[in-house]
Symmetry: C2
Subunit: 250 residues, 2 copies
């Protein structure tokens, strides 16, 4: 058996998120179906990131096992002919049999796009959050910088009973404004449920002048979800990349 | 009666183009409905550009007449609350009563987006054309430059019996590549039916190395549609802006 790693990109608009669930169609379910069709055998892949409904990905990661002989790098092309246009494999490669996309130490990068202009842009509505009022990008950038480092991010997470360790490490944050588009990027070793969206909601409060940038430090210290801003809408969020620094297989 | 000019943006994915027609929903039809609702009176707007099914706009222009007292600049906001998310008015202003968006001399700018990478990007599939093979952008830029000036563009148009004058003036063309995205922009005093898409299809042949750049000169001279490239797909095309240089009302 070989273990194959897939880089998976999707437009999350029409999916109930990544993970298979009874109440709606998911990216994982559609991918499992395409894999099972391609290899004429029931296959269930394991995903790295369980993105929420409406959230996009350029580089989610999934693995599956197969004894088929197809060259690993051709699997991406073969799968794409069986997938709908809103899911596209970006690459396929063989990994060691003990490689697990979630239990392996990872570095993930997310991007949240904020469209800041007077009127909404219908051509970008599905992959950005529109805000018409003024935003102080410098203040947002300063607020985001307080997140870098190893912190307890309990205030920036929707509680899940099975998650007890809420300490994560953020390596880098950036906010770049080009014309009417603000791109907030955040890279870390892991993210709690809704963490990037709650951070973004908090940065929006800072940008509007409702919170001073330093409030982010207080929110971190409070370890209380109620102290942070609202959960920003899903359509602005994209999982850009997942790296596995300890693996040398690519 | 006042004449009101609207700047209209839309994602053309789910529309059968701009113009009202019996066989499908159009942008103009939805806009007429919103105008009629807002002013409690049947209103039919006149559009500047009859974009095709699947083509997008950031700055199409429409006018309508009203005797309502609403301040002209508030109409955009009021209309947007009655429009679906894939149509958004970008501004509204009063224009002289004899202003006609089509019969007035205009300068139109279109953009065609080509996504040039190994695998399709599902998050950008609705507003770009994907091509996986190498493209020589310098050759495409050179080919496009031959279009600048006043020419008979008969070779670059789908024939329409009612159109006899196929001479148009192109003021400027540009091709910019940033990462995996090529943006072809073309500005002129008017465009024939499918003209930008046929020009783009021809530039793609040049980019692939199937036509030398100079062939564009031969195609212009031939005045024969069969000499040009294929009509490029609609989703890559956006009507960016229409200017009315002789009017001074804004």
């Amino acid at each position: 058996m070989r273990r194959i790693k897939l880089i998976v990109a999707y437009d999350g608009t029409n999916y109930c998120g990544w993970q298979v669930q009874p109440n709606g169609i998911t990216v994982q379910e559609v991918l499992n179906q395409a894999l099972s069709d391609l290899f004429a055998k029931k296959i269930a892949c394991i995903g790295a990131s369980r993105t929420d409904a409406g959230v996009h990905a350029l580089g989610n990661v999934a693995v599956f096992d197969t004894d088929a002989r197809m060259p690993a790098d051709r699997i991406a092309f073969a799968l794409n002919t069986r997938l709908p246009a809103d899911i596209r494999i970006q690459g396929s490669s063989e990994v060691p049999p003990d490689f697990h996309p979630r239990f392996t130490a990872t570095v993930k990068t997310y991007e949240y796009r904020i469209l800041n202009r007077t009127f909404a842009d219908p051509t970008r509505r599905l992959n950005s959050y529109f805000w018409y009022g003024p935003l102080d990008v410098d203040a947002m950038r300063q607020a985001a910088s307080y997140l870098v480092g190893t912190h307890d991010f309990k205030s920036f997470a929707t509680a899940k009973p099975e998650v007890t360790d809420t300490v994560r490490t953020i390596y880098e944050t950036s906010l770049e404004k080009e014309d009417d588009l603000i791109r907030f990027r955040i890279t870390g070793n892991g993210f709690l449920y809704n963490m990037v969206r709650i951070i973004t909601g908090t940065l929006l409060e800072v940008g509007k002048g409702d919170y001073p940038p330093e409030k982010v430090k207080e929110i971190l210290a409070a370890k209380d979800r109620k102290t942070a801003g609202a959960t920003a809408r899903p359509e602005g969020l994209t999982l850009v990349q997942i790296r596995y620094p300890e693996w040398d297989f690519e």
